[in-house]
Each structure stands twice: as C-alpha cells, then as structure tokens.
C-alpha cells in the first residue's frame, strides 16, 4: 500500500539554528505513530511541517498523494498546501478553541466557511462528531465553561468534522491536569481503533506503548530510532532512547 505520509530529506532552520536534520519518514494508512523525545528535540516542529504551520527549509512533504517541495512557490504551491490542510486535522496542546463561538459553532465553522457546506448539514456532522467525543450535551456552551479535558475533546471533534485522512496531535494532554488526561486519551484510543491514521507527539509513554503501531524517537533534530513499542520499551538501541524511557519510568508520568 502506498504510504499516506511520506517525508523526504526534511530540513528545518529557525534562523541559523537547525532544528530538523534530514528527516525521512513514511506513515501507512491506518497506522498510529507516536513521536517521543525530550523538549527541543524537534518533534513538534516535524509535526507542524506536515501541515505547513512551519515552512520546511528543504525536502519534500507528501500527504495523500499531494507532493510539496520546500522550494515550490506561487499559487500552485498555495493550493497544494491548502489541500494538504484539508486532508489533515490538527489538535494542539493549548486546544485553541474559538472563545467567541459556542461548542457547536466551533465545530461547524470550518465546514461552512472552508468547504461551503450548508448550515444544517454542517450541524449534523458537528453533532455526530461531538457525540463521538461524548460532548453532544455541551453543544450550546461556550468554551470558557468547559474543563481542559472537555475543551480538548471539542478540539478533536472540530478537527474530525473536516473529515481528514490524517490526524496530527501535538502534545494533546500536556496542558491538562493529571485527572483529565484519561478522557482525552480514551477518545484518541477509540479513534485509533476506528482506523484513523494518527501522528501523535506525546510524553504519555503508557499511551504510546498501548496504542501505537510504531514509536519514533527524536533527539537533537534527528530521528534516532523507530520501532514497535515492544522493541522500543524493552530493548532500546540508542542510549538517548534508554535515558528517555528510564526517566519516565522513574519520573512519575507513567
């Protein structure tokens, strides 16, 4: 099967600092890939390059058959990037719900504005997705009335309403109180079981171990190891991987 995501020789610089070095990565349809690594290892930047929230400095990004080279310019590139974003849903650490819109409007906004869907159809899809994350009963609330975990679940529903082929999660539970992490991880687990292709940047080793098909370890802008969870957690090859896993084993967060 052709990979859904194909990253080739991706470099990213912030000014003179190189944060991604020659990244190569394939993700198969329905695969769940967790990216772990210390902060500053480049894992979030890699994720953000996939939907062009960060501009790649060099290399090629391919999502669902759409190919964008870092050197591409102009209208054609803009259209390609737009189409990549349509195929991709993203969930942020800080939720980033729209505070001036109700829960339902948060979810219907993009289908109406971006896809030109009519309101009732958009509401129907929104309600289905809010139900998927267990928050249909909150549809008329405003985001400030939700807990962190509920906000993040709405953010997931908002991304799903665009019916993406690929979901990107950028540390989706890092801003949550410990007791609220579980409800978000459960929604993500369910999504994985339903066959969604997912790329998850996370510190939740338990989730990575249980749900991921493959775990990618990053350090200093490089992809240092990619393996099944068992192999990564039982027999890490790289010292940096071992240090990372040991730290989490002893350090509280699983």
């Amino acid at each position: 099967m052709a990979p859904l995501v194909k990253v080739t020789d991706l470099d990213k610089y912030f000014g003179r600092l190189q944060v991604l070095k020659r990244i190569n990565l394939d993700v198969q349809p329905k695969e769940v890939v967790c990216i772990i690594g210390r902060s500053g290892s480049g894992k979030s930047t890699l994720l953000r390059c996939l939907n062009f929230l960060e501009e790649p400095s060099a290399g090629t990004i391919e999502v669902g058959g759409l190919v964008v080279h870092a050197t591409d310019r102009g209208d054609k590139r803009r259209r390609m990037v737009h189409d990549v974003r349509l195929k991709t849903g993203m969930v942020f650490q800080e939720f980033n719900l729209f505070p001036h819109k109700s829960v339902l409007e948060n979810v219907t906004e993009a289908p109406i504005i971006v896809k030109g869907m009519n309101k009732s159809k958009a509401a129907e899809i929104a309600e289905m997705n809010l139900d998927r994350v267990g928050l249909l009963f909150k549809k008329d609330e405003f985001p400030n009335r939700l807990s962190g975990g509920q906000k993040q679940r709405v953010a997931i529903a908002r991304a799903l309403a665009m019916e993406p082929q690929l979901m990107l999660f950028d540390e989706p539970t890092s801003a949550l109180d410990p007791e609220l992490i579980g409800e978000v991880l459960n929604v993500m687990k369910k999504l994985a079981q339903e066959g969604m292709t997912m790329l998850v940047v996370t510190h939740e080793m338990g989730f990575a171990r249980e749900v991921a098909d493959r775990v990618i370890v990053m350090a200093e802008g490089e992809l240092i190891e990619q393996e099944t969870p068992e192999n990564i957690f039982r027999a890490p090859k790289d010292d940096r991987t071992r240090a990372l896993i040991d730290r989490y084993r002893t350090g509280g967060a699983e």
């Binding site: 991709t88 985001p143 908002r158």
Partner: protein, 276 residues
C-alpha cells in the same frame, strides 16, 4: 428553608460583612466630600459675603436664565459630530491597524505615513486645514462634514493603536487553529481574529468617544458648526458675559461626560461578564 439561614454566622461571613461595611463607608465619605466641593464652588459664585472678609463672585443670573437654552441647543450638534466622527475614526483605525500588520509594503507604508502625519501635527491645525485651507483649493465642504473629517482622521490615527493591540491580543494559537482547519488568511482574519479583537477594543473606543465629545469644541473655532462651544462664545462675546456663558457650557460638557462615563462602565461590566 435552608439550614444556613438559621445557623450562626461563620467567621468568614462576619469578616466579609465588615469589609462590605468599610467599602460602603468609604463610598459615602467620598460622596459627601464631592458635595462639599460643589457647595464651595457654588458659594464662590454666589455673590454673597463669605467668611474671612471674602466676597463671592457675582454672576449675571438674568443673562444665564435668558441664554442657557440657546447654548443647550448645541448639545445635539456636539453629540452628532462626535458620533459621526467616531464612526469614521473606527473605520480608519481598523484599516490603519490592518495596514500596520500587512506584509504588503504599500499598505504598511500608507498606514504608518497616515499615523505619523496626523500625530505629528496639531488637531487644531487639522481642523483649520479642512475649514479654511481646502476652500482655497476650491473644495468647499459643508461645515459639519469638514469637522467630522478633521476629527475622524485625527482620532483614527490615535485609535489605530487600540485596534492593533486588539488584534495582537488574539493569540497565535487562534490563527494556527484556523489555518490548520484550512481557512485562508482573509477568512482567519474576518471570522476568527477580528471578532475577538473588536471586543477587546470596545472599552478603549468608549474612552476615545468621551474624549471626542470635548475635543469637538475645537470645531467651534471655525464658526460653521453651531455646537455647545460655538454658542457659548457667541452669546458670551455679544453681551460681554463670557464667564457666565462658559460656565453654562462647562456644566453641559461635564454632565455629558458623566453620563457617558456611566454608560461606559456599564458596558465594560457587561463585557467582562461575558465569555472570555
């Protein structure tokens, strides 16, 4: 009935009530002091003999009775010119703020040029420019519109900073979320950023409006808009009763400001209660 209603008051409850009493006492004392200050001013202008051998200033009360209505006739003009000017100012301020954030050099330049030019010259000069300098070029604007243009252009330049701050107050995450959902930069601006930015900009815009009702008095200097200040100086000069006329005008401006400030505080309270 709730059990709480009959239970003895807790210490927290008692402390809270004491705090409320102190707050109330403070407000009462302030109100009394205001009344005393007002009374002193009234005494000064009473024309009566005051303690310590001082004599109050004698005002021509007959003149005031005869002319306050004429001066009050300027209130609608003051309000009208202020409302029209603030609308123009808000439009210009928003455009200037967007220009300041634009990556397109001509927009950016136009915005900074406008703000620099207006802030670099006196409002008084700008008003005369529209009333006196433009007619020399054959452009004869009706008095009201010349005033609105001058005030609107001037306030727009200063208020662009408010709108810029409003736009800046909307976090980067909001833009990223919209972008990730496939919205174009324009959709992101109009649907996500501006609604939040405008809400942020409402209270300071209210302050600017209150300031503008008073700056509109400068328009009187040209003699074309018969607002409060123009009327006060007209009758004051005609009867050589400037003191009385200006006192009447001052009272009107003051009352307008007090009313607007009250409305402003209500508006702010309501906005802060909303969903933030």
């Amino acid at each position: 009935m709730d059990l709480q209603d009959v239970a003895p008051k807790s210490q927290a409850e008692l402390l809270y009530e004491a705090q409320l009493r102190r707050d109330r006492q403070f407000r009462t004392n302030v109100a009394i002091s205001w009344l005393v200050l007002l009374l002193i001013i009234l005494l000064i202008f009473s024309g009566k003999n005051l303690p310590f051998g001082l004599t109050g200033i004698q005002l021509d009360t007959q003149f005031m009775k005869d002319n306050w209505r004429f001066i009050a006739g300027g209130i609608p003009w003051t309000i009208l010119i202020s409302i029209l000017s603030i609308i123009l100012a808000m439009i210009l301020a928003l455009l200037a703020a967007l220009g300041r954030l634009s990556k397109f050099p001509p927009f950016y330049a136009l915005s900074t040029f406008y703000v620099s030019l207006i802030r670099g010259t006196p409002l008084y000069l700008q008003i005369f420019f529209f009333f006196l300098a433009l007619p020399q070029l054959g452009i004869d604007l009706p008095g009201l519109w010349a005033g609105v243009l001058a005030l609107g252009l001037n306030y727009g330049a200063y208020m662009s900073e408010i709108f810029r701050a409003g736009i800046a107050s909307v976090g980067k995450g909001q833009r990223e979320a919209a972008t990730a959902l496939g919205m174009t930069p324009r959709q992101t601006m109009t649907r996500i950023v501006l609604p939040q930015a405008l809400r942020f900009a409402i209270p300071p815009t209210g302050n600017e409006f209150i300031a503008m009702t008073k700056d509109s008095a400068l328009v009187s200097a040209t003699g074309f808009v018969h607002e409060i200040m123009w009327r006060a100086t007209k009758v004051g000069r005609a009867h050589f009763r400037n003191l009385e006329a200006l006192i009447i005008a001052a009272i009107f401006y003051w009352i307008i400001t007090i009313i607007l400030s009250y409305l402003q505080s209500r508006l702010e309270a309501r906005l802060s209660r909303g969903d933030r």
